[in-house]
């Protein structure tokens, strides 16, 4: 018994130590002369990780199959344009971008939460299409040769290098992980789990269904928006066609499903695979997307709980067999 308890304590400590060490190591990467290509991979990893985590929060934990992340990313990107063209600093653009995306999420929650199941999915798929067309005609910053289909440059980022982009992305990725942990361990997380299983049962046991979903949606909106704004700081320009593109749904969805929906580690594993494939096959253009599509279909058919869910189930079986064998 004593040995067991000691082991538990040391496990708890190592649980805290390991992530802290990992974060510190990741943070000093740019200083110790890591190749820029690696930093670039990790930059994309953290941006897509933040997106995937938030998509998992919505689709996996809140029962909101949200097909419109591009709306939040694009809006935050254009907010960044407005902020930086008014000679305000870029980090303000990230925060305001996140706030605008969160506010927009709250706004579209009112009509879209009335829709159920597939209607919600398609209803949210329409939103980026609407916004893209809005930004084709509406110029937030008027002028010739800018706005519309041509898009905008992001101003005020001349002094920044990959190191800063990397740190910004790292912070977003870590924040998204922490947000997931906090939300899932809070009353909100419990309410969301109840709603996902049955919204009527949840409502009758005193969970405010609309409000719980709304909170999840707004939180996801902020993080997705901030991640999007950071991506456009790195990219340096934004056009409606690309900002509201389906790729902003593709990466989080594919990463979450491959890794494992409704698991906290799933998006981490999935994003690793997606980003790895993306850079491994970047020479061959669209090939990585093709492979991702094939993997997505195969995973969903064979192991719908995703890689993490699958491994967890298998090890659980293994552990219980081990326990049966070792006890007495």
């Amino acid at each position: 018994m004593d040995v067991e308890r000691n082991m538990k304590v040391s496990i708890n400590q190592s649980r805290l130590i390991l992530p802290v060490v990992l974060v510190v190591v990741l943070a000093v990467f740019p200083i110790i002369g890591t190749p820029p290509a690696w930093l670039l991979y990790l930059f994309h990893f953290f941006i897509y990780l933040a997106m995937a985590n938030m998509w998992n929060l919505l689709a996996g934990y809140s029962g909101l199959t949200f097909l419109g992340p591009a709306a939040l990313v694009g809006l935050a990107g254009y907010t960044l344009v407005i902020v930086t063209w008014n000679d305000l600093p870029f980090y303000l653009g990230i925060i305001v971008g996140g706030v605008v995306a969160a506010a927009f999420a709250a706004l579209i929650a009112i009509p879209t939460f009335r829709m159920r199941g597939i209607y919600f999915a398609i209803g949210t798929l329409v939103v980026p299409e609407v916004l893209r067309n809005v930004f084709y005609v509406w110029k937030p910053i008027p002028g010739d040769f800018i706005g519309g289909g041509a898009g905008y440059m992001i101003k005020g980022i001349e002094g920044l290098s990959l190191t800063e982009f990397y740190w910004l992305a790292l912070v977003t990725g870590i924040v998204s992980i922490l947000v997931m942990r906090l939300v899932l361990r809070s009353k909100l997380g419990l309410g969301l789990a109840a709603i996902r299983d049955s919204d009527r049962a949840a409502a009758s046991s005193g969970v405010d269904v609309f409000r719980s979903k709304l909170y999840a949606f707004v939180i996801a909106g902020f993080v997705m928006g901030a991640a999007g704004a950071i991506f456009y700081i790195y990219q340096g320009n934004i056009q409606p066609k690309e900002a509201f593109a389906i790729k902003w749904l593709m990466y989080p969805l594919v990463a979450t499903v491959i890794g494992g929906m409704r698991t906290e580690e799933g998006p981490i594993v999935g994003t690793t695979i997606v980003v790895f494939l993306y850079f491994l096959l970047s020479k061959y253009g669209q090939l990585s997307l093709l492979i991702q599509g094939v993997i997505l279909v195969i995973i969903m058919l064979l192991v719908p709980e995703g890689i993490v869910g699958f491994v967890r189930r298998k090890t659980k079986n293994y552990q219980s067999i081990l326990q049966l064998a070792t006890r007495r």
Partner: protein, 290 residues
């Protein structure tokens, strides 16, 4: 003054009605799969665009007329649909609520990237000598492609309606869509019926793809927008009614041409998507629906 305004409006109204036929044609397959299996095939738009690319490949490689290429396209898409339903989708239903949606999304991803690898992301279009230029309709003239698409939509709808009403398989499809267990009790193999329904839906997507390609240019990612429009058509028109689908198509077609007429071409798609969104938010069961 009113006569002049009306005269001006004739063209966008007629164009809108004709365009509505094309929208209805695109929505037909989506509506069928939705009605029978309660599944929104998110890959429908991409399968339609892929049909356009198939005709494009035959046209550029051997100079085969796009409409004539349907003699190959329809059976191929029919088989493709049958296989997708039989080997992939039928399993997805048993897994979870969102599994069919995600798998259809995966198929859409595969088709989009395949189209980009093979045909590049640039705009492509289908051409046929008889589809060029304008045709006079008495009061005004319209592009020939619009009229062709409208006629094709009418033909496909009539054929499909007669098929559903008269053939055994058609009746079985309707029975399975109304009550799956009831259909099974009277000896209908619903698994097989589902596969045929999906196959027929895909065949209409092949037809829609060709007429779409003759009317507009397309890129590998055009499918998403038209999936949304097709969904809007069946929401406005309500499920299970061909006439409703046609009306839904015409509503969105008129939205596009009239907003283009009054506000300029840049605004027209914005209004189409907005209408779809508003209808979804206000009346998800459809305006003409049951």
């Amino acid at each position: 003054m009113s006569v002049e305004v009306l005269g001006d409006l004739f063209r966008p109204i007629i164009m809108g009605v004709l365009l509505g036929g094309l929208f209805a044609l695109i929505a037909l397959g989506l509506s069928m799969v939705f009605g029978v299996m309660k599944l929104i095939n998110v890959a429908h738009g991409d399968l339609m665009i892929f049909g356009a690319y198939f005709a494009y490949a035959l046209m550029t490689a051997w100079g085969i007329d796009p409409i004539l290429s349907l003699t190959m396209g329809i059976p191929l898409w029919f088989g493709l649909g049958f296989a997708i339903q039989k080997y992939i989708m039928s399993r997805a239903f048993g897994i979870s609520m969102e599994a069919p949606l995600i798998i259809a999304f995966g198929i859409s991803l595969i088709l989009q990237s395949l189209a980009q690898i093979i045909w590049s992301p640039y705009n492509r279009g289908l051409e046929a000598p008889y589809a060029l230029g304008y045709i006079s309709l008495g009061i005004t003239s319209v592009p020939r492609t619009y009229l062709l698409s409208f006629i094709a939509a009418l033909v496909v709808m009539l054929v499909l309606r007669e098929f559903l009403r008269r053939s055994y398989l058609g009746k079985a499809i309707i029975a399975a869509s109304q009550d799956r267990r009831g259909a099974e009790l009277v000896g209908i193999n619903t698994g097989r019926v589902y596969a045929f329904a999906f196959a027929i839906a895909m065949a209409t997507a092949a037809v829609a793809g060709v007429f779409f390609g003759l009317t507009f240019t397309f890129t590998p990612t055009s499918g998403v927008g038209y999936l949304v429009i097709a969904f809007g058509v069946i929401i406005i028109g309500g499920l299970g009614s061909m006439l409703g689908t046609f009306i839904g198509g015409i509503v969105l077609g008129l939205t596009q041409t009239l907003s283009g007429h009054f506000l300029g071409a840049a605004w027209q798609m914005l209004f189409v998507y907005l209408i779809v969104f508003v209808v979804l938010a206000v009346r998800p069961q459809g305006i003409f629906g049951r």
